[in-house]
């Protein structure tokens, strides 16, 4: 990654994401479950947040809503000051491409593509720079997650942890103001987990991104600016 630009200090502290009273029901008929029961949350640029809680408490469900991948049954979501929960698919898609980076808990990569192509994929859609620049940037991102040497490998030729790191690099491709990561260190050994966390921290501190991650790792949660414990669909 290139060194942090000076403009960052001006955006740091700005409100990047706000949700209020989010409700989400999942399943149908008898199996219908009230998964999120009124979640409110704010994330500011330059800060790193941890959402923790037992398995099944609704962390991933919340993250999908914040990442505009799913629609809430109640409540509101604002991204960079724009109310997104009522907007149409096209607007939400555009916001995902330009403002949000998402790292899934499982299935990370498009396996027929190389690591480099995966990272370039969001840039190609946004088409904000020449292809040569995209490639250089993708290389730098892979380098920063320790995979510079494996950039030409297909998704199928990478381990689970390596795939996860490529997915992180890809989530950063378009320099999103908000990074949402569902257990980004879940499949990683201590050394790599530390490296990924350092990367995320530096993004928040140097680039002024709002980083929200779900984690089971108490050590990592402790190092975040703010930890929000969750239980049974609500923050406690």
């Amino acid at each position: 990654m290139k060194p942090a630009p000076a403009v960052v200090s001006s955006v740091r502290g700005e409100l990047a994401l706000r949700c209020t009273g989010l409700h989400r029901y999942l399943g149908q008929g008898e199996g219908r479950v009230h998964v999120l029961k009124g979640v409110s949350f704010e994330a500011r640029r330059g800060q790193i947040y941890a959402i923790v809680g037992p398995s099944g408490c609704g962390k991933s469900t919340l993250l999908y809503l914040l990442g505009l991948l799913d629609q809430p049954d109640g409540g509101q979501i604002e991204i960079n000051g724009h109310l997104m929960s009522n907007s149409d698919d096209l607007a939400r898609t555009a916001a995902r491409g330009a403002h949000i980076g998402f790292v899934f808990q499982f299935h990370f990569l498009m396996l027929e593509f190389t690591a480099l192509e995966n990272v370039m994929m969001p840039m190609r859609k946004l088409a904000k720079m020449p292809v040569g620049e995209m490639e250089a940037r993708a290389h730098a991102l892979l380098e920063s997650v320790g995979l510079g040497a494996k950039s030409r490998r297909l998704g199928t030729q990478l381990s689970g942890g390596e795939q996860q790191r490529v997915a992180i690099a890809r989530a950063l491709a378009n320099e999103p103001s908000i990074l949402l990561a569902d257990e980004p260190t879940g499949n990683l050994d201590v050394k790599n987990a530390g490296m990924v966390f350092d990367l995320l921290t530096s993004l928040a501190k140097d680039r002024g991104q709002a980083v929200i991650l779900v984690t089971h790792n108490p050590e990592i949660a402790q190092q975040c600016d703010l930890t929000r414990p969750m239980r049974d669909g609500v923050f406690v």
């Binding site: 629609q71 898609t93 995902r96 899934f104 027929e112 994929m121 190609r124 859609k125 946004l126």
Partner: protein
Amino acid sequence: MSPNLRIAYRFLTAKKRAMLMSLSCTILGVGLFIVTQATTSGFEAFFIETILGINGAIRIEDKIQDTMRSMEAASGSDFQVRQREGQKYIEGVEEPQQIISVVSEFANVRGASAVLRGNVQLTSSFTTKDAQVFGINLEDHLRVSNLAEKITNGSLDEFRGSPSGALVGRVLADYLQLGVGESFVVFSRGESRRFHVSAIYETGYRDVDKANVYLHLSEARSLLRKPTGATFIQISLYDSNRAPGEAAHLEEVLHYSVKPWQVREQTWLTAFRALRISSAITVTVFTLIASLAMFNTLAMIVLEKTKDIAILRSMGYERRDITQIFMWQAGIVLAIGAALGALFGAGVTWAVGRVPLPINGIFKTETFVVAWSARHYVEAVATAIVMVMVASLVPARRAARLEPGDIIRGTAQ
């Protein structure tokens, strides 16, 4: 390369085997479409060329006599209702020379020839056969037909110089076992007269070659006891495609029934068209299979790639992009299929046109007649594009409708 095309290409290459069915059927569909169109329209063109060569583009026959009924619409009114009750035709052309001089004024008219026709019986030393004699003025008739090119034995010069000379069709000559210089007797209305074969012609159009005998007009007049007039006037045009318009114009000017070749040969032309269309429909079955196979393969790829679709959607790819990615896959198969199909079609067309394959039905040819026309290729490819694209639209749209959230949770329908 656009990102969507790039993704489509990669998805496709991962599923090469599944696409093979669709690809091969596209090749067959496009190729065979081209071949059938090339052969059927080849024969059609051959027929038209032959028929124009023999019978000309336009024929003037039968004088029209309108029977009019006039009445006044209302007292004091200027209107007169003229009702055409019906048309009476008077057979034949009364003043051929006069009409020819009028017709020759038309810019598109290359030549006009008065012809006197009659049914006769021909007897050679071997056998007897019904035939038709055509009394012609040779120089006029050469301008409205390609008779000169069709002479296979003997010569037109001999015909020019001898009043009792005759031009006999190949099939008829063979039937009567007549050679050049040999004589035969023509019977008509109790009259008999001896002629000799000046030349034998072969147009390749069997109906003509087995029945038509050309005589000098003056000889035909006395044989058929028709001292004046003609049965019809045959006209050739510089641009035969304009025959219907010219015919309508002539009809108006001359008050004769004037038939362009498109009307005269309607039965055959309709048969050719029906053949061309039915063969096109038949081979379109391959294209149909190609489109079904494409539907199937794309539906399969959509199922296999739902996760990739969710990932793409999560990073800003729109529904439209997802549709495009799948339509591009169909597009790639179509492009390859159309190119190979066109090559295959051209190859087979070429081969079919070369293979010595004597045909002896209504026509006589030594090889299959093929027509080379870009239209066949365009039509073949357009058919494939429409059918395959329509079939692909269904899975492509389905893929685009998938919600990323549903996919990730595994509840996508």
